[in-house]
């Protein structure tokens, strides 16, 4: 059964049609990579998947339930199960690294448990012992990794990654790819948004190509590389992004 599904989703802001008739399924345990050039609507899709945005038309299902029909508490449960790595990191800049990573744990763990989880997660992303630092003291790559630790701290069943490797050096990127794969081995379903083909091929079970708010192709990476669609081929050849 699909753990996340978008059915005929449109998303518009004013007159701008950001997404048009997008239908996507994410199967439990798989890694779906959404590939697309800048501005194609990738971040918007992720935000629809955990209910940060509501579709203008169509339906979004998470865990088998229509997100627009959930109560506030049910939506919170869905979000606890759905980790989100923001493209910008979106760290709370008035809180320490430790408080950032432990933020979602405030209501589900006591102080000591939370402290242990935070230390574990920071170790996992290679930033052990940085609990007392402030986000402003971190480099861009470190921030992204703290944000990743924060998203993983609630042990979600689903992870949504918005450009996890963009702007990072190859070594850090490789580390993050390893982390995504490790999560997958633990049975975590992942949706990875990127415009970097190299990394997409390393993690993807399936790829969906998004161009100008439309899904123009879906399938295994091999299937996609063999796609006759000229738009897809142009994108894969580096014509965009």
């Amino acid at each position: 059964m699909a753990i996340i599904e978008l059915r005929g989703v449109d998303y518009t802001i004013g007159d701008a049609r950001i997404l048009r008739n997008v239908s996507l399924k994410v199967e439990e345990g798989e890694v779906l990579v959404i590939l697309g050039p800048s501005g194609s609507g990738k971040s918007t899709i992720l935000r629809l998947m955990n209910g940060l945005l509501q579709p203008t038309r169509g339906q979004v299902f998470n865990g088998g339930r229509d997100i627009s029909e959930l109560s506030d508490d049910e939506l919170k449960d869905v979000r606890r199960q759905t980790g989100f790595l923001f493209q910008s990191g979106a760290l709370f800049d008035s809180l320490t690294v430790g408080a950032n990573v432990g933020f979602g744990l405030r209501k589900v763990a006591n102080r000591q448990q939370a402290g242990e989880i935070v230390a574990d997660q920071l170790r996992l992303v290679g930033l052990a012992g940085t609990e007392e630092m402030m986000p402003a003291e971190l480099s861009g790559g470190m921030r992204k990794r703290v944000a990743l630790a924060r998203a993983l701290a609630l042990s979600p069943r689903i992870m949504l990654y918005d450009e996890p490797t963009t702007g990072l050096d190859p070594k850090t990127s490789a580390g993050i790819i390893q982390l995504i794969l490790k999560q997958q081995q633990r049975g975590v379903t992942s949706v990875v948004v990127t415009h970097e083909l190299v990394y997409a091929r390393q993690v993807a079970d399936r790829v969906a190509v998004l161009l100008d708010g439309r899904v123009v192709a879906q399938g295994s990476p091999e299937h996609l590389l063999a796609s006759p669609d000229p738009m897809v081929q142009q994108f894969l050849a580096g014509g965009w992004g």
């Binding site: 955990n50 449960d77 989100f84 979106a90 709370f92 933020f103 209501k107």
Partner: protein, 250 residues
């Protein structure tokens, strides 16, 4: 646009009340905000209220002295200060210092996706960001108003005694004689409402912020302007209702 804003503020207010009644107030964050918004505003409130009392007494005491009615000088300042000047001036200080800080902070968090990050972590931004600020403002504005009352009256007394030559003691006695507990309570109640207005407008403007640093600036200015206008308008209606049949006993 303005109507939409008011609508959102009403929705936000009901959410806040819901959280407070449900016991969902984060003590730690609230305490921090009480220090930031309230405690740190004490000096400016004292200065503003002190000078307001002084300038008010400068005019009234002199006029009353001409008619030999110096005993009334304290009374007039007392009523003006406690009923109107202290709560309104404190409200304005809170709007300028606290409301702007709230709108800027929440606005910056909004445009840098920190508010969304909070939602994504299943934490309600109303509970975590708004309720503590609302509670601190509604508690600290009345407290600051009490300080403003004291400094305003002392300032007036100082001017009456040193510049006009009315005995300071007679001045304070006339304040004491004519001022009722009801006046004090009414002033404090108004201050509580002004505090709520400041926090509500600051937070809702913060959440509505769009478009980066410029947007944050707009929200900040906008929140101060609307809070001050709202305070003056609401004050007029509250005073009409509260003091509708109050005649000062001569």
């Amino acid at each position: 646009m303005a109507l939409e804003r008011v609508g959102r503020q009403v929705v936000l207010l009901t959410q806040i009340v819901g959280h407070i009644l449900g016991g969902g107030v984060d003590r730690g964050v609230t305490l921090t905000q009480m220090v930031n918004l309230g405690f740190n505003s004490i000096p400016i409130v004292l200065i503003v209220a002190g000078f307001a009392g002084m300038v008010f007494a400068l005019h009234t005491t002199r006029e009353f002295a001409r008619f030999g009615a110096t005993a009334l000088a304290g009374q007039v300042l007392g009523i003006a200060m406690v009923r109107e000047l202290s709560p309104v001036l404190t409200g304005i200080v809170m709007a300028a210092r606290g409301g702007s800080a709230i709108a800027a902070e929440v606005g910056a968090m909004q445009v840098t996706e920190q508010v969304d990050a909070m939602r994504a972590l299943a934490v309600d931004p109303v509970e975590y960001l708004v309720v503590p600020r609302f509670v601190s403002c509604t508690l600290m504005t009345p407290l600051l108003t009490i300080f403003a009352n004291v400094l305003g009256l002392l300032g007036g007394c100082f001017v009456a005694a040193c510049q006009v030559g009315v005995s300071g003691r007679a001045f304070l006695e006339s304040v004491n004689y004519f001022l009722s507990v009801g006046d004090l309570v009414a002033g404090i109640l108004k201050a509580l409402i002004f505090g709520g207005i400041v926090a509500l407008i600051g937070c809702s403007r913060g959440f509505m912020t769009e478009g980066g640093a410029a947007g944050v600036g707009e929200s900040t200015t906008g929140s101060v302007v609307s809070a001050i206008i709202t305070i003056f308008a609401v004050n007029y209606f509250l005073s009409t209702v509260i003091f509708h049949d109050s005649v000062v006993a001569w």
